[in-house]
C-alpha cells in the first residue's frame, strides 16, 4: 500500500488562526517543541542557581546565614532532580525529539498532534507542582534525588511531609506526560516517514531519539511504580518500603517493608534514564560533527547498532548503583560485567566520532566546538565510569566527590554540551536567524574550560574521601585543610560558568530579532529538516507536497559531485556512481 503521511489527509491540517491556538494550545510539533524547550531551560536555570548556592556554601562555609544544613539538602535534591528529569529529559526528547522527528522523517507533524499537546501541558503541570514545593510548609524534599526510603518520608529529613508528596506527584505526572509524548515519537518514526526514507536512511539523531524513547517508555513505569508505592507508604501507612522502625523514640506503625526494593525499582528506572538523556545527545552530536566536518559519519551502521545495543544493555546494569547496599558477590560480579560490556558499544561510538573528524574538512563553528568539547567531557566521564563499575573500586569511592565528578562529566556536562551544540546548530532553522558567533565562542570557552576547573579537582576531593551531600566538612581528620582551598576555587569556577550561561541566554534572546539572517540551509547540510520550502518551516512543514528521499543523510564531500554536500532529496547525479555499481563494473 502506498504510504500516506498523516497530515496529507487534509482534514488533519487545520491551520491555526488565533494567537491562542497558534502559541498556547498549539498542536504543531514545532511550537510544542519550543514550549517544551523554553519551560525546560527555565527550570534548568533554577537548578543552576541552586548549584550556585550549594557551591557558595561549600567554598565559603560559615559565610552565608541563609543556607543551613536543611536547605543545603533541599538544594541538592531539587538541583539533581530538575537537571536530570525536568531539564535534560524534557529538553532532549520533548524539545528536540518533537522538533526533529517530523522534520527529519519528512512528516507534516506528529501522528497524534492532540496527544502531543496534552503531553506538553502535563509536563507543564508537573513542573508547577514541583516548583510549588518551594512554597509549602517545610519546603521541598531534601531526600536526595534518589529519594531513598525510609528517610525520604521520615521526620528529620527536610520536606518529609509536603515536599516529598509534591515531588512524587510531580514525577507521576511527568511520567504520564512522557508516555504521551513518547507514544507519538515512536509511532511517528515507524509510520509517518516520507517515501524513500527507509529506517537506515534516517539521520542518527532520529535513530537515537527513537531508541531513547523506547527506553523511556519501558523504564519510566518503574519510577511510576515506586512513586505510587512510596506515596501509599507516606499517605496511607502501607509498608511496601518502610521497615519496622523507631523514630524519635517512638515506634512507628510500619512493619517489615524493604527499602532495598525501592532501590531496585528506582535504579531500574535510573540507569536507563542515563541513556535516555545520553542517546539523543549521541545522535545529535553525530549529525553536528558530520555536517561541520563535511564528512559522512564514520561507520553509520555501527553507530546504529551501538545505539540499539546500548539501549538493550542499559536494562541489565542497574544494580551497579547499589554495590554498597549489600548484594550477593555473584550479583556484584554480574552487574560489574554487564557494566563493563556496555563500555564496548560506547567506545565504538567515541572512536567513530573521532574517525569522522580525521581528515575531515573541520569548520570550527560554535556547534562544532561544543561537539568536540563533548567528545572530551564524555570520554573523561566514561573512563571514571569504568572505575566505578567495579565493585571493589566503587565501595571506597561510593558517596564521595569522585562519584559527583564522574556523573557530572558523563551525564551532566556532556549532554549539556550537545544541547548547546544542537541549539547553535538548529537555531537558524527554528528562528531564521543565526546566533552571534563571537558570543558563542566566548560562551564555549568559558563553559568548556570552566567545566574542567570545576570537575577535575572534584576527583581528587573524592580520593581524599570528601563525602557527597555534606553541608560542611566539620572536623574530619583525614581530610587535609587544603581541601578547602580546592573547594573555594571550584566555587569560583562554578560561579563564572554559571554567569557565562547568561551570555548564552542573552544571545538567544537578542538574536531572535537582531541575529544575522540565516537564509536557507546555512550549514549546507544534507538532512531533510534543512530542505523545507520556508525557514523557519511553516505549519505542515512541506508546503503542498511531501519531499521524496533518494539517499542517506551523510553524502558530504562525495567525490565527483559539484557541491560538497548532496541533500537527501537529490536524485542520483550524473557522474555519481553508487559503490555497488562500481563494484559490479570491476
Amino acid at each position: 500500500m502506498q504510504h500516506v503521511a498523516i497530515a496529507d489527509q487534509v482534514d488533519e491540517l487545520h491551520d491555526p488562526t488565533s494567537f491562542i491556538t497558534k502559541y498556547i494550545w498549539s498542536q504543531d510539533h514545532k511550537v510544542i517543541a519550543i514550549q517544551y524547550g523554553s519551560t525546560a531551560i527555565f527550570v534548568g536555570l533554577i537548578a543552576l542557581a541552586l548549584s550556585g548556592l550549594m557551591r557558595l556554601q561549600l567554598g565559603f562555609p560559615d559565610t552565608f546565614d541563609f543556607i543551613d544544613p536543611s536547605s543545603y539538602l533541599q538544594f541538592v535534591t531539587m538541583h539533581g532532580m530538575i537537571m536530570v528529569v525536568y531539564l535534560l529529559t524534557a529538553l532532549l526528547l520533548g524539545g528536540f525529539g518533537n522538533y526533529m522527528i517530523p522534520l527529519m522523517c519528512g512528516a507534516r507533524d506528529m501522528v497524534f498532534p492532540y496527544l502531543n499537546m496534552l503531553s506538553f501541558w502535563f509536563y507543564f503541570v508537573s513542573v508547577l507542582i514541583l516548583l510549588a514545593s518551594f512554597f509549602v510548609p517545610g519546603g521541598p524534599t531534601g531526600a536526595g534525588w534518589t529519594l531513598y526510603p525510609p528517610q525520604a518520608i521520615l521526620n528529620g529529613t527536610p520536606g518529609y511531609d509536603w515536599g516529598i508528596i509534591l515531588m512524587l506527584v510531580s514525577l507521576a505526572v511527568f511520567v504520564i506526560a512522557f508516555t504521551m509524548g513518547g507514544l507519538n515519537y515512536v509511532t511517528t518514526v515507524l509510520q509517518a516517514r516520507t517515501s524513500g526514507m527507509t529506517l537506515m536512511r534516517m539521520p542518527l539523531t532520529v535513530w537515537a531519539i527513537f531508541v531513547a524513547t523506547i527506553l523511556g517508555l519501558l523504564a519510566f513505569p518503574a519510577l511510576l511504580v515506586s512513586a505510587i508505592m512510596m506515596l501509599l507508604d507516606k499517605l496511607i501507612g502501607t509498608s511496601f518500603f518502610m521497615p519496622a522502625l523507631v523514630s524519635l523514640g517512638e515506634n512507628l506503625d510500619y512493619t517489615g517493608g524493604s527499602p532495598v526494593l525501592f532501590q531496585h525499582l528506582f535504579w531500574f528506572f535510573g540507569h536507563p534514564e542515563v541513556y535516555i538523556v545520553a542517546l539523543p545527545a549521541f545522535g545529535m552530536v553525530s549529525d553536528v560533527i558530520s555536517v561541520h566536518a563535511r564528512k559522512n559519519i564514520f561507520g553509520y551502521r555501527m553507530m546504529v547498532w551501538a545505539i540499539v545495543a546500548i539501549g538493550a544493555l542499559s536494562f541489565v546494569v542497574w544494580a551497579h548503583h547499589m554495590y554498597v547496599s549489600v548484594m550477593h558477590p555473584a550479583f556484584g560480579f554480574f552487574f560489574a560485567t554487564t557494566t563493563l560490556i556496555i563500555a564496548v558499544p560506547t567506545a565504538i561510538k567515541v572512536y567513530n566520532w573521532v574517525l569522522t573528524l580525521w581528515k575531515g574538512n573541520i569548520h570550527l563553528t560554535v556547534p562544532m566546538l561544543f561537539a568536540i568539547g563533548f567528545i572530551f567531557t564524555f570520554t573523561h566521564g566514561g573512563l571514571t565510569g569504568l572505575f566505578l563499575g567495579n565493585v571493589t573500586i566503587d565501595l571506597p569511592l561510593s558517596d564521595t566527590y569522585f562519584v559527583v565528578a564522574h556523573f557530572h562529566m558523563v551525564m551532566g556536562v556532556s549532554p549539556v554540551m550537545v544541547l548547546f551544540a544542537a541549539i547553535y546548530h538548529w537555531y537558524p532553522l527554528m528562528t531564521g536567524r543565526m546566533l552571534d558567533e563571537g558570543l558563542g565562542k566566548l560562551h564555549f570557552w568559558v563553559t568548556f574550560l570552566g567545566t574542567y576547573a570545576i570537575y577535575l579537582p572534584m576527583h581528587y576531593l573524592g580520593f581524599l574521601g570528601v563525602p557527597r551531600r555534606y553541608f560542611a566538612m566539620g572536623t574530619t581528620d583525614f581530610i587535609p585543610a587544603s581541601a578547602q582551598d580546592l573547594n573555594a576555587s571550584i566555587t569560583i569556577a562554578a560561579l563564572i560558568v554559571g554567569a557565562a550561561q547568561m551570555i548564552f541566554i542573552y544571545n538567544v534572546i537578542v538574536s531572535l530579532r537582531h541575529g544575522k539572517k540565516a537564509g536557507k540551509n546555512p550549514w549546507r547540510a544534507t538532512s531533510l529538516e534543512w530542505q523545507t520550502p520556508d525557514v523557519p518551516p511553516h505549519h505542515g512543514n512541506w508546503g503542498p507536497e511531501l519531499p521524496k528521499v533518494y539517499r542517506w543523510a551523510y553524502d558530504y564531500s562525495v567525490p565527483g559531485a559539484k557541491d560538497d554536500f548532496i541533500p537527501q532529496t537529490q536524485p542520483v547525479l550524473e557522474g555519481e556512481q553508487s559503490e555497488e555499481a562500481e563494484a559490479m563494473r570491476k
Binding site: 500500500m1 502506498q2 504510504h3 500516506v4 501522528v111 497524534f112 508516555t179 507514544l183 515512536v186 509511532t187 511517528t188 515507524l190 509510520q191 509517518a192 516517514r193 516520507t194 517515501s195 524513500g196 526514507m197 527507509t198 529506517l199 537506515m200 536512511r201 517508555l217 519501558l218 513505569p221 518503574a222 511510576l224 511504580v225 505510587i228 508505592m229 501509599l232 496511607i236 501507612g237 502501607t238 509498608s239 511496601f240 506503625d253 512493619t255 517489615g256 517493608g257 524493604s258 526494593l261 531496585h264 531500574f268 559522512n296 553509520y300 551502521r301 546504529v304 540499539v308 528521499v549 533518494y550 539517499r551 542517506w552 551523510y554 553524502d555 536524485p571 542520483v572 553508487s578 559503490e579
Partner: protein, 223 residues
C-alpha cells in the same frame, strides 16, 4: 527477522535516480500506539508483580488465600467479577465483527453492552473493596492487602482510561456521522480490552495464590 535485515542495509551504497522507495506499510498509527501502550502497561504490572513476589518473602506478609479466614480462600466474588469482564471483552469483540460487516445496529448493541459490563466490573471491584474493608482487611494492615488494593486500583484506572478512549471513538464517529470508519478504532479498543482481561486474570491468579505457591514463584525469581 526483518529487523536484522534492516539493520544490515548499507544506505550509502544506494542513491536512486528516479522514483523513490515507497515505505510500504499499513498506515495505522493507532495500531502501533496500542501495541506500545500494552508494552508500557505490561511493564507497569510486571514490576508491581515482581515487587509483590519480593515483598512476599518478608515475615509480615500474609497471603490472601489458603486458610479459611482469609478472604480469597473462597474466590467466588472474584469469579463473578471475572465473568463480568469476560462479557465486556466478548461484546466488544462482537461489536468489531459486526462493524466489519457494517451492521450498525449490532455494533451499537455490542459496544453498549461492552461499556455496560466494563462499568459493572468497576462497580463490582469497588464493592469488593467495600467487602474487604468490612471484614477488617484494611489497606495498611498487611502488605498483601496493600497490594490487593494497589493492583486492583491501578487495573481499574486503566480500564477507566480505556472507557474514556472508547467514548471518544464513539463520539467522533457519531459527530462526523462516519459509521463506516469505526471498524479499525474499535478493533484497537477490543485489543486493549482483551489485554486488560489478560492482566486481570494474572492478578486474579496472584491474589488467590496460597503462600506455598507465592513462595515457589518468588523462589523461581530468586527472592
Amino acid at each position: 527477522m526483518s529487523l536484522f535485515k534492516t539493520l544490515q542495509e548499507k544506505p550509502w551504497e544506494t542513491p536512486e535516480a528516479a522514483g523513490s522507495i515507497a515505505i510500504a506499510q499499513d498506515f495505522d498509527p493507532a495500531k502501533i500506539a496500542v501495541r506500545f501502550i500494552m508494552a508500557v502497561v505490561g511493564v507497569l504490572f510486571f514490576l508491581f508483580i515482581i515487587t509483590f513476589l519480593a515483598r512476599s518473602q518478608y515475615p509480615d506478609f500474609e497471603a490472601l488465600a489458603g486458610q479459611p479466614w482469609q478472604p480469597f480462600s473462597d474466590a467466588s466474588r472474584l469469579w463473578i467479577n471475572t465473568f463480568i469482564l469476560v462479557f465486556a471483552s466478548l461484546f466488544i469483540q462482537f461489536g468489531v465483527r459486526k462493524a466489519k460487516e457494517q451492521r450498525q445496529d449490532a455494533v451499537v448493541i455490542g459496544v453498549s453492552l461492552a461499556a455496560f459490563f466494563s462499568v459493572l466490573f468497576l462497580v463490582a471491584q469497588l464493592d469488593l473493596w467495600r467487602g474487604m474493608l468490612a471484614m477488617g482487611f484494611y489497606v495498611n494492615t498487611n502488605p498483601a492487602n496493600s497490594y490487593f488494593y494497589a493492583l486492583t486500583g491501578i487495573h481499574g484506572l486503566h480500564l477507566l482510561g480505556g472507557l474514556i478512549v472508547l467514548a471518544n471513538v464513539v463520539f467522533r464517529v457519531w459527530y462526523d456521522d462516519k459509521f463506516s470508519s469505526i471498524s479499525r478504532p474499535l478493533q484497537h479498543c477490543a485489543t486493549y480490552w482483551h489485554f486488560m482481561l489478560g492482566i486481570w486474570v494474572v492478578l486474579f491468579a496472584l491474589l488467590t495464590s496460597e503462600s506455598e505457591t507465592i513462595n515457589t514463584l518468588a523462589g523461581l525469581c530468586g527472592f
